[in-house]
């Protein structure tokens, strides 16, 4: 136990030394971390509540006040402080993104491991399902699903609906990645040896396969996170968010619906979008660099196209 811990620590510090030298990766980590910190310490960053209406001396709500009149980012159509909504919005956007990403990661890893390890009809079925999901346009499907779930009048929060729908649809890339890794790992010597001395499937998967692919799953999750956050912002913009707990996408929905554009209230519609770009860019940079560093078979940069991400043997095995 102690030995494993030392090994882990040594690997981690070696990894950190390599990672620290990578400028793109560090930039991504800084972008993502700063957003997480803002979300965690939101109450410390603003003297108001997100719902507080700012009033002028005569007691009227200060609507569409530019930053020169009030606060760092002015007020919205109802006279609420935009900066406050932005820092509290980080909580919702990141929470929905993280939870949806975790669900997608869990489903994708589980199915990928099972399909890659056991093969056969399970593998066939999984690959066909991912193929089908790849072709059905995702946004219309999600909108129809969310609309149906809402119509069913289940007593669940709109945010939970969003988390479930995003999480249940975006696991396919993880499943494919994990599957192809498992396919190569299970052919290696140490798995054959473990099997020869009588190790069961569960033992081999837990002790030999999962530890090998775990770093890659983490990297992939960071990439999924950027997708989840972007998708959440889109669904919220189309009015499917929770108006009582506005995310950045919901803020943009408010801004658009309540004529921030024709009122020239750029301080209302620019910051939430910039925040989304900030976080998703951070995830993409970090995720790509992690994947590049942790995937032994990935020689080219992830950005150089899909073909380089897919391990060489997969197509032939799959066809």
């Amino acid at each position: 136990m102690l030995e494993t811990w030392f090994l882990f620590q040594r690997n981690l510090s070696a990894f950190w030394r390599a990672f620290r030298r990578n400028r793109m990766g560090m930039a991504g980590a800084v972008l993502l971390l700063s957003a997480v910190l803002v979300a965690l310490f939101a109450p410390l960053l603003s003297p108001y509540e997100p719902t507080t209406v700012i009033r002028d001396p005569s007691g009227r709500g200060l609507t569409f006040a530019p930053p020169s009149v009030h606060g760092p980012l002015g007020t919205d159509d109802a006279g609420r402080d935009v900066w406050t909504q932005l820092v509290y919005g980080a909580r919702i956007s990141l929470l929905v993104g993280f939870l949806a990403g975790l669900i997608a990661m869990f489903i994708g890893s589980l199915l990928g491991i099972l399909a890659g390890y056991f093969g056969g009809w399970l593998d066939m079925l999984l690959m066909r399902v991912t193929d089908v999901l790849l072709v059905i346009p995702d946004l219309p499907l999600m909108l129809v699903l969310v609309a149906t779930l809402r119509q069913m009048e289940l007593k669940i929060s709109p945010l939970v609906v969003l988390i479930l729908v995003i999480g249940l649809l975006y696991w396919t890339s993880t499943a494919r990645l994990v599957r192809s890794q498992v396919l190569s790992i299970k052919e290696r010597q140490f798995v054959a040896r473990a099997r020869a001395i009588g190790a069961g499937h569960v033992h081999i998967i837990r002790k030999h396969i999962v530890p090998q692919i775990l770093p890659l799953i983490v990297a992939n999750t960071v990439l999924i996170l950027s997708t989840a956050i972007l998708v959440e912002s889109g669904l919220a913009f189309l009015g499917l968010g929770d108006p009582t707990q506005p995310s950045w996408g919901t803020m943009l929905n408010f801004a658009f619906d309540r004529n921030a554009i024709s009122n020239g209230a750029w301080w209302f519609y620019l910051p939430p979008g910039l925040a989304i770009v900030w976080v998703s860019l951070g995830c993409v940079l970090l995720g790509n660099v992690l994947e590049e560093m942790l995937n032994p078979r990935l020689t080219a940069h992830h950005l150089e196209g899909e073909a380089s991400v897919r391990p060489a043997g997969e197509e032939t095995l799959h066809e």
Partner: protein, 325 residues
Amino acid sequence: MSRGGMLGRKVLFSLLTIFVVLVINFVLFRVLPGDPVRAVIGRNVKLSAEAQQTLREQFGLDKPIFPDQFLDTLGQWARGNLGISWSLRRPVAEILAAKLWNTLLLIGLGQVLSIVLGILLGLLAGWKRKTPFDVFALTFSLIAWATPTFWLGIILLAAGSTWLGLPTGGLVSPENVGKPLYTVLPDLARHLVLPTLTLTILYLGEYMLIMRSSILEVLSEDYILTAKAKGMTPWQVLWKHALKNAMLPIVTLIALNLGFTVSGAIYIETVFSYDGLGKLFQTALVKQDYPLLQGAFLLLAVSVIAANLLADVLYVLLDPRVKPT
């Protein structure tokens, strides 16, 4: 594998996918609470119990859901009967058909522009690898990927209408609504500038990336070296050998992108109040018009699947490695 066998598999797979879409659509329709009879006659109409019963029998709702009702519904859809819109009180198929061309116009323009520009810029970036232009191209596509479609639309809408005096939305100006589109082309063009620009910017990056990486791959092949050794100029090598071989991944990407393009159309048409399928989808969502929503989903999904099949067929025909039978 032979050409015929491969095409057969692709067709079979597309049919399977369409079947899955049909099942999803059917299940969602049946999961909705309340009575399907209500879905057909509208929400607010009061009907006597006997009349409802008659209707139920008429629509076959007294039969078992599977297979009778399922097959019956499939038959209805196949005949183009997608039900009646709750909010517009007209047949869904009719409404969809009226909006289809507007969306195809927008998507088509945006796709053609982004593909042509993406191929050219990607080619250049790969050719001038590790120069400032290449770095700029990579940075651009990274940021384009991280930017929400609708937000870029909002920014371009605000900037274009304030500084360039471009229209803020719609397909044509109010005074031209209802006239045939070809009679008001200049007005239509002015309205198309901003939505098309949004689509183009967003999809450009991806085409650029894939072109760049596939040109880099091709350039490292032996036959390029041979061509250079024969004394061909760099441009000749690029056009005659590299470009042709690097085009194959683009065909796949175009097909894969169709789904995203449909999503893009929903956001962009919403932002620019553009009178197409995407805007219709969003309106149906807001008004909770389920027959319209599901009809639109069916149409969008089947179109994307069909277009994917088309791209697959093209790929098989273009790829010299697949033997004709």
